[in-house]
């Protein structure tokens, strides 16, 4: 009788070394960061729901949200979400370009990977700098 292919092997077959042994190219970093920021933004969507509910609850609701978001930890989370959204946006546009068949050249992909990391950090810092220097709040 043939062995059940689903049965775990008594002696697992050796695996080819992969993640742990190769030097990580920057494109591997951008790939896993895209996923990481995506999962982070899923949590951000829950925070967005909380924010919207807090507004719908009037002044007390607004204050209850800001009591948490205005703390150092709250600001750190907001900064993380800001950077995540910018990163996922920029790298997402690059993914759409790949889907259309553009940008598969290795050197080019490496170069714009570094650019996406740099740009996303600069843009996130710029958003926070704008907020802190009073350039936000223009919808008042």
């Amino acid at each position: 009788m043939a062995d059940n292919p689903q049965r775990p092997l008594a002696h697992p077959r050796p695996l080819s070394p992969h993640m742990t042994i190769y030097r990580w190219p920057v494109t591997m970093m951008t790939s896993i960061t895209h996923r990481f920021t995506g999962v982070g933004l899923a949590v951000g969507a829950v925070i967005l729901a909380w924010w919207l509910v807090s507004i719908s609850n009037g002044p007390e609701g607004w204050q209850s949200f800001h009591a948490v978001s205005d703390t150092p930890l709250g600001l750190l989370v907001l900064f993380g979400l800001t950077w995540s959204l910018i990163y996922h946006f920029l790298n997402g546009v690059r993914h759409l370009a790949w889907d259309l068949g553009y940008g598969f050249d290795k050197r080019l992909a490496e170069r714009n990977s570094v650019m996406i990391f740099a740009l996303s950090i600069i843009a996130a810092l710029a958003v926070f700098a704008a907020a802190w220097t009073g350039h936000g709040g223009y919808l008042r």
Partner: protein, 126 residues
């Protein structure tokens, strides 16, 4: 050549996944929709920094803004659902755990979306 597939099945071309390229395509459609919507969202968030709940209420109560926020929430959560599903597909290899997590993700996304939309409607009605 004989085949077990009915002509209808063959013409639909959905393959062994039973959903064809639907998942991939919906992920792209929502991504494209989210390009302008995220830019609008970022503009709004920075525009409301340091203001009061009155400003936020008045802004979101405007029909166009309520509509855009509703669209942003819907496309974001749809895209989130598709993305999280891929993460589970990639890393979870036992059927029971996979089904459980997909249930949790689907319910969470639906609950978050319903909460957002209810809040947006409530703000508009205030």
């Amino acid at each position: 050549m004989s085949t077990a597939q009915t002509p209808l099945r063959k013409v639909r071309g959905l393959g062994s996944s039973h959903s064809g390229t639907g998942h991939f395509w919906h992920e792209r459609v929502t991504a494209v929709a989210l390009i302008p919507l995220s830019l609008w969202f970022a503009y709004v968030m920075l525009g409301l920094v340091g203001t009061s709940e009155v400003t936020a209420l008045q802004f979101l109560a405007h029909p166009w803004n309520a509509l855009l926020m509703g669209a942003f929430v819907c496309f974001t959560l749809w895209h989130t659902y598709l993305g999280l599903q891929v993460v589970v597909d990639d890393y979870i290899h036992t059927a029971g755990m996979k089904i459980f997590l997909l249930f949790v993700i689907r319910f969470s996304v639906l609950a978050t979306g319903a909460t957002c939309l209810f809040a947006i409607v409530r703000i508009a009605a205030l």
